[in-house]
C-alpha cells in the first residue's frame, strides 16, 4: 500500500481539498454535530429510567452521573473515531470516479485515508475535546498525565482500527455498489460490542472475557472507562494488546482485499 509519508505533499493537498469540501455546507456540519451529541442524550433518558426502577445507587460500579458521563464520553470517542473512508469509496464507485482516481500516480487506499483524516481532526477539536471538558465540569474524574497518555494511546489504536474497518467495509462497494444497508448492520452490531448500549462490564462475565480479545472494547468502552477510572489496569492492557494485534491482522487483510478487488473494478458505462 506504499509508505504513508512518501509524497506527503500530494496527500496534504487531498486533505486540504476535502476539508474545503466539508466546510462548503456549514448548516449540514452544524446539524450533524447536534445529531451526534444528541445520541448521548438518548442513552441518558434510558439509563435514568433503569436506575429509577432498579432503586439502587450503583450498577456494577457505575453511579448514575458516571453512567451519564460514560455515554457522553462514548459520544466524544465515537465522533473522533468516525471515518468517512467507506463513504468516499462508495461515492467514487457509484459516480465512476474511482476510475479517474486509479488513473493517477497515487495510492488510492492512502488517498481515501488522507481524505478522511481532516474531518477526524475537525470533529475532535471542535466537538470531542470541548465535550470531554464539559463532562469534567459535571462529573469528577481524575485526568492525570498518566491517564491522559494512556487515553492518547487508546485513541490512536481506536482511530487506526476504525479507519481500517471502514476501508474494508468501503471495498464492499466494489462488489455491491450501495453498502448503506451492510454498513448499518455492521455499525449496529459493533456499537453494541463496543459498549454503546451498556458498559461492557454489565455483559455476562464469559462474554465480557471473550470480548477482551476482540478489537471492539478499545474502540469505545476501554477509553471511556479509563477516563472514569472504572476499569482495571489488567483489562486496559489486554484490550490495548488485542487492539494492536487486530490492527496488524486487519491491515494485512485489507492489503489482500484491495489487491483482489482492484482487479474486479469495472466502472459503469459503455
Amino acid at each position: 500500500m506504499g509508505s504513508p509519508f512518501r509524497n506527503w505533499r500530494v496527500y496534504l493537498a487531498f486533505m486540504s481539498i476535502n476539508l474545503k469540501t466539508a466546510f462548503t455546507y456549514k448548516g449540514n456540519f452544524i446539524m450533524s454535530l447536534v445529531l451526534r451529541v444528541g445520541l448521548g442524550l438518548l442513552m441518558v433518558f434510558v439509563w435514568t429510567a433503569v436506575f429509577l426502577n432498579a432503586k439502587t445507587s450503583t450498577i456494577r460500579g457505575f453511579t448514575l452521573p458516571q453512567m451519564y458521563a460514560y455515554f457522553f464520553l462514548l459520544s466524544a470517542i465515537g465522533i473522533t473515531t468516525m471515518s468517512s473512508i467507506r463513504l468516499i469509496i462508495q461515492n467514487d464507485v457509484q459516480q465512476g470516479k474511482i476510475a479517474t482516481s486509479l488513473l493517477k500516480p497515487i495510492n488510492y487506499p492512502l488517498q481515501t485515508f488522507y481524505s478522511s483524516i481532516p474531518m477526524t481532526v475537525v470533529w475532535s477539536v471542535f466537538v470531542s475535546i470541548p465535550l470531554v471538558v464539559l463532562i469534567s465540569i459535571f462529573v469528577h474524574f481524575n485526568l492525570s498525565t498518566s491517564v491522559l497518555l494512556l487515553l492518547i494511546l487508546e485513541m490512536a489504536i481506536a482511530i487506526s482500527l476504525a479507519n481500517i474497518y471502514d476501508f474494508l467495509l468501503g471495498t464492499l462497494a466494489i462488489n455491491f455498489v450501495n453498502i448503506w444497508g451492510i454498513a448499518g448492520v455492521f455499525f449496529w452490531t459493533t456499537s453494541i460490542l463496543e459498549g454503546g448500549v451498556m458498559p461492557l462490564n454489565l455483559f455476562p462475565t464469559i462474554l465480557n472475557k471473550i470480548l477482551m480479545f476482540t478489537p471492539f472494547p478499545i474502540m469505545g468502552y476501554t477509553p471511556a472507562a479509563t477516563v472514569l477510572g472504572t476499569v482495571s489496569m489488567n483489562y486496559i492492557t489486554t484490550t490495548i494488546l488485542a487492539g494492536l494485534f487486530w490492527i496488524a491482522v486487519l491491515l494485512v487483510l485489507s492489503i489482500f482485499r484491495w489487491r483482489s478487488v482492484v482487479r474486479k473494478i469495472t466502472v459503469v458505462g459503455g
Binding site: 496534504l12 474545503k20 476510475a99 479517474t100 488513473l103 500516480p105 466502472v267
Partner: protein
C-alpha cells in the same frame, strides 16, 4: 517481486520513449450481465436471467507516438471497455496491452505519469469547489513546478476560454464548461498520451473548435498522442486515423479517406437546370427532386461517360456539383455490412 521488476523495466522503457504509444494484442473481454425478462409487476426485477456478453473480441491494433486516432462506435460497442483496459484499470480475459512498450495493468502507476484521461462524465473536479482547486491538486499529484504550473494554466485557460469560469464552483458550470475544465485537469502535466472518452458531450461549437485546436497544438509542440472515442461522427475530423468498433469487434482501421474509398465509386451529383428538368435523366437513383433541381446517386463510371459529359456541357444545365458519400453515411453502411459478418 515480478511487479517490482516490471515497474523498473517500465521506467527504463519510458526513458527510451517507445515509438509505439499503444499496442493492443488479441484483447478479449466478457461481461456477465442480466435481464429481468418480460414479466411485469414489482417482482419482475427479482427474476434475473444472467448471461455473458462479449465486450471485446480478439482486438489487435497499434497507435504510433504523435498520432491522433479516433475510436468510433455505437453505444455499447466496447469503446469505453477498451479505453479502461488500455489505461490499466480493467483486466482483459486474454491478450495484452502495452503503453509506451510496457504492460498497462502491471505498470499502471508509472504509465499514469505519462497519460492524461478524460472519461466522459466521470469527473475529476470537485462539485462544490472551483475547478482551480482540482488544478492545484494536479500540480502536486504530478509534481509540476510552480513556474510550469502557472505558465501552463494560463495557456490552457486562455486557449479554452475559461478565464471567467475556472474560479467559480463547479456546480454552477455548464456541462461543456465542466468538460473543458476536465480536459485542463488531465493535460496540465503535459502527458505523452491523452485519452479522451466522449470529450464533446455538451460542448458548444466554438468550444469544440478550441478543444480541437488545442489538441493539434499539443500534437505539434509536444508530439502528444491522442486517442479520442466518440459516437459522434462530426467529432472525428481532427483524427488522422479511425478505428471503428461494433459489438466488440474492429470493423475498420485506417484513414478517413480510405473509409470512403471502401465503398467504391459511389457519388452524388446535384444538377440545376435553366428551366424544367428533362423528361429522361437515367444516370442513377433519384434522391431529391424539384422543378429545376435533381440529386442523383450514381457511380464515377457514369460521371465519366460521354452521355453525362454531354449533359453537363448542355446550356440547359446552369450548375452542377459532385460529392462523395459523407462519413456518417459510410460508417452507418459499414456497421450494416461488416457488423453482420
Amino acid at each position: 517481486m515480478t511487479q517490482y521488476y516490471n515497474s523498473i523495466l517500465g521506467r527504463i522503457f519510458m526513458i527510451r520513449d517507445s515509438d509505439t504509444a499503444i499496442s493492443v494484442n488479441g484483447v478479449s473481454k466478457k461481461f456477465k450481465t442480466y435481464s429481468t425478462g418480460s414479466n411485469k409487476g414489482f417482482l419482475a426485477s427479482l427474476k434475473r436471467k444472467y448471461y455473458w456478453v462479449d465486450a471485446l473480441s480478439d482486438l489487435s491494433f497499434s497507435i504510433k507516438r504523435g498520432e491522433i486516432v479516433a475510436l468510433l462506435g455505437k453505444n455499447g460497442s466496447g469503446k469505453s471497455t477498451l479505453i479502461k483496459i488500455i489505461i490499466g484499470i480493467l483486466y482483459p480475459d486474454s491478450g495484452s496491452v502495452d503503453v509506451f512498450g510496457v504492460n498497462s495493468w502491471e505498470n499502471r502507476k508509472s504509465i499514469a505519469m505519462e497519460t492524461g484521461v478524460v472519461l466522459g462524465a466521470h469527473e475529476q473536479l470537485y462539485w462544490d469547489l472551483p475547478a482551480i482547486d482540482a488544478f492545484d491538486l494536479m500540480k502536486y499529484v504530478y509534481g509540476i513546478s510552480d513556474k510550469d504550473y502557472k505558465r501552463r494554466l494560463k495557456y490552457f485557460v486562455e486557449r479554452l476560454e475559461l478565464t471567467d469560469v475556472y474560479k467559480r464552483p463547479v456546480r454552477t458550470l455548464s456541462l461543456g464548461e465542466r468538460m473543458k475544465c476536465n480536459f485542463v485537469a488531465s493535460v496540465l502535466h503535459l502527458p505523452k498520451l491523452v485519452i479522451l472518452d466522449e470529450p464533446t458531450i455538451g460542448v458548444d461549437l466554438s468550444s469544440k473548435a478550441a478543444l480541437r485546436e488545442t489538441m493539434l497544438e499539443m500534437q505539434k509542440k509536444y508530439d502528444t498522442t491522442f486517442l479520442l472515442t466518440t459516437h459522434i461522427v462530426e467529432d472525428i475530423d481532427v483524427a488522422e486515423r479511425i478505428i471503428v468498433l461494433d459489438k466488440g469487434k474492429m470493423i475498420y482501421n485506417g484513414s478517413t479517406k480510405g473509409l470512403t474509398k471502401l465503398f467504391g465509386d459511389k457519388r452524388y451529383v446535384e444538377l440545376r437546370f435553366r428551366e424544367k428538368l428533362p423528361a429522361a435523366l437515367e444516370f442513377g437513383k433519384s434522391i431529391e427532386k424539384g422543378i429545376d433541381y435533381i440529386k442523383i446517386e450514381t457511380t464515377t463510371k457514369t460521371l465519366k461517360s460521354k452521355r453525362f459529359i454531354s449533359l453537363i456541357s448542355d446550356s440547359d444545365v446552369i450548375d452542377y456539383k459532385v460529392s462523395e458519400p459523407d462519413l456518417k453515411e459510410v460508417i452507418l453502411k459499414l456497421y450494416k455490412i461488416r457488423g453482420k459478418s
